[in-house]
């Protein structure tokens, strides 16, 4: 079998839009079912009161990583044909940091705000408007920050390539990291639950 299907010409651009729509429905359904439609639930991971968003996210990433590794290992998927966006270390670190601050203040990220609006979260509408405004702001200052935006360019580069390790070893690292993360998350939840019940007893 030749995967990815689209790259081997199994269907055209028009059909790819229908695929996008169907995949989008599945994505939105799973996000909502996971609790990503609630800003309060999304923010809870930053206070260790409820780590489910963190758990969902890292289970998903680990699942996809294992799946990609397996399919490419048995030779049905050509990983070189999967689009990986280029790395620009500094802009991505700074952008990620700003986005993280926006995440805990606003309660959503772009995708989850769509799910939140769909399920009637009024605050998510304001969040979405802010999102449009932030992108507009970026567009307006873009000519002034274009140099920084294009700095520390490293091209299409993956962790195995960067650290000069085999793909399988990195996959193993990620699995161990995920297990450590889940354990830490459970521990954090327990500590916070204890703290809360202690506060209630003190009244």
């Amino acid at each position: 079998m030749n995967l990815p299907l689209y790259k081997f010409g199994f269907f055209n651009d028009e059909v790819s839009l229908i695929v996008a729509f169907v995949i989008g429905i599945a994505f939105g359904f799973v996000l909502e079912r996971g609790g990503f439609g609630s800003g309060r639930m999304l923010a809870a991971q930053f206070y260790f009161t409820d780590m489910r968003v963190f758990k969902v996210m890292f289970t998903a990433i680990t699942t996809a990583i294992i799946g990609l590794f397996y399919l490419s290992w048995i030779g049905v998927l050509d990983l070189d044909l999967v689009y990986i966006s280029d790395t620009y270390v500094l802009p991505q670190a700074v952008g990620g940091f700003i986005l993280g601050i926006g995440f805990v203040i606003g309660g959503y990220c772009p995708g989850t705000s769509g799910v939140a609006i769909a399920t009637g979260k009024v605050d998510a509408i304001f969040y979405g408007l802010g999102g449009f405004f932030g992108i507009f702001l970026f567009g307006e200052v873009f000519p002034y920050i274009e140099n920084f935006f294009n700095s520390t360019y490293m091209g299409r580069i993956t962790l195995p390539e960067y650290f000069n390790l085999s793909y399988g070893v990195v996959v193993l690292f990620v699995i161990l990291l995920a297990i450590a993360g889940f354990t830490a998350a459970d521990w954090g939840e327990k500590v916070m639950a204890k703290k809360k019940s202690a506060q209630i007893e003190e009244g």
Partner: protein, 191 residues
Amino acid sequence: MFKFKEWFHHHHHDNVREGELTPYHYTNPYLIGLLLGIVLLLTFVIMGRGLGASGALSTVVAMIVNTVSPETAHHNSFYMGYLGDGEHNPLKNWLIFQMIGVVIGGFISGAIAGRTKFIVSKGPRITNKKRFLFAFIGGTLMGFGAKMARGCTSGQGLTGGSLLSLGGWTFMFATFAGAYAFAYFVRRQWT
């Protein structure tokens, strides 16, 4: 004995969701994570690309700017990147169709679980008005940061992370660092 139904309808002590609590609880986080991972994996093997979100919003912003002031848009390579060659409608775009699906899929799940109600998602210690203001500010930072990072939690986090992209992992660590570093200052909004 393993009770699948109880496990699936993940009941745990609820200190987060009062007011948003619903007849059907959320699915177990590891099971739903597995499902989300499979959706992502299917996207890779069918399309040869991953999921995204902020790109769709950017296309809309670029189109609005282009409508209001074509002059501005045409002199800005950021906007032009989303407007294309002028021969195709920018809205006929993979991410736009995916995001329309996301909204519909989210609504279907919410409707099944009885979670489609007009409410404000927030903690008990903040007014609606303030929450709306914070939501707007947070959205603005998020929009700006997502463009700086060339993607958001979907495009760089889920997708870049799964593809073991160096930029994706840099982004993820920076995002969590930013959120945890700033969480203390907005704790009254959520807890």
